[in-house]
Subunit: 136 residues, 2 copies
Amino acid sequence: MTVQEVLNVMSEKGLRITEQRKTLAELFVNTTSQLTAKQVHSFLSQTYSGLSFDTVYRNLRVLTEMNVLEQFVFEDGMKFKLHCSSEEHHHHLICLQCEKTFPLHYCPMEEVKHLSHDFEPVKHKFEVFGYCKDCK
Amino acid sequence: MTVQEVLNVMSEKGLRITEQRKTLAELFVNTTSQLTAKQVHSFLSQTYSGLSFDTVYRNLRVLTEMNVLEQFVFEDGMKFKLHCSSEEHHHHLICLQCEKTFPLHYCPMEEVKHLSHDFEPVKHKFEVFGYCKDCK
DNA sequence: TTTTATGCAAAAGTTTTGCACTGAC
DNA sequence: GTCAGTGCAAAACTTTTGCATAAAA
């Protein structure tokens, strides 16, 4: 997904394109790792010195609601990344060192459905943490 | 795991057995769902009216550190449950209605190891949410 | 010009910390 | 009697909300 595509989605949904939002879009398009609100704020602060946290939170929330970003829960708080455009359902390998994410085109739910007859699965979380080929 | 076994672990590690901690042990031994600090506080408050939140948090942390409890991260905060005594590595089916958990003796990591040669897995999260046979 | 986005200030929610006092051993 | 546990108060941290002003369309 390009910066322009992200901005188009925002426009189509009636959002206004501010300088901050452009930079925010660039940040997420160029990052494969999952970012905390704090990290996003730090990054944007380099350009917009008076940037407030509430604006960051508001934009992260709005972008998550319109499916541009995806939200994940971790021990150290919520993290955000660009919503995977891949048509196919998949999961992620997440590097503990560089924090980059790599798509894993495998889902264990087929197997689970065979094993759990008394339970009706609705959703699931599956994430693998470890070291990528550059970091291991 | 029985209440007495939990208390024994606490004693062995040098913790003192207070009335509150006895009740806390009973709560977790009798609950298969994952509880938030808030829920634990509510429950214990029924018996100990002046109960403070910091004591609840302290005890949850101490019990987690000595592996009596297990900690999970969710959208609505940390949750705790008795550490699974099962020898075998497993995951959980979690009911969205009654919040009970059911062991799932299946782990997708064997499959993942075959698929991801460039990535060295260290740990993983796998949880299935849905409706149990009583709730569906 | 109209309406949305932003910054500021403050609040709400969760978790942690320091300290004096109480209670377990 | 000694040391750990508790309650209280306050702080730290993350996220949210209300309102006046600034900026996008």
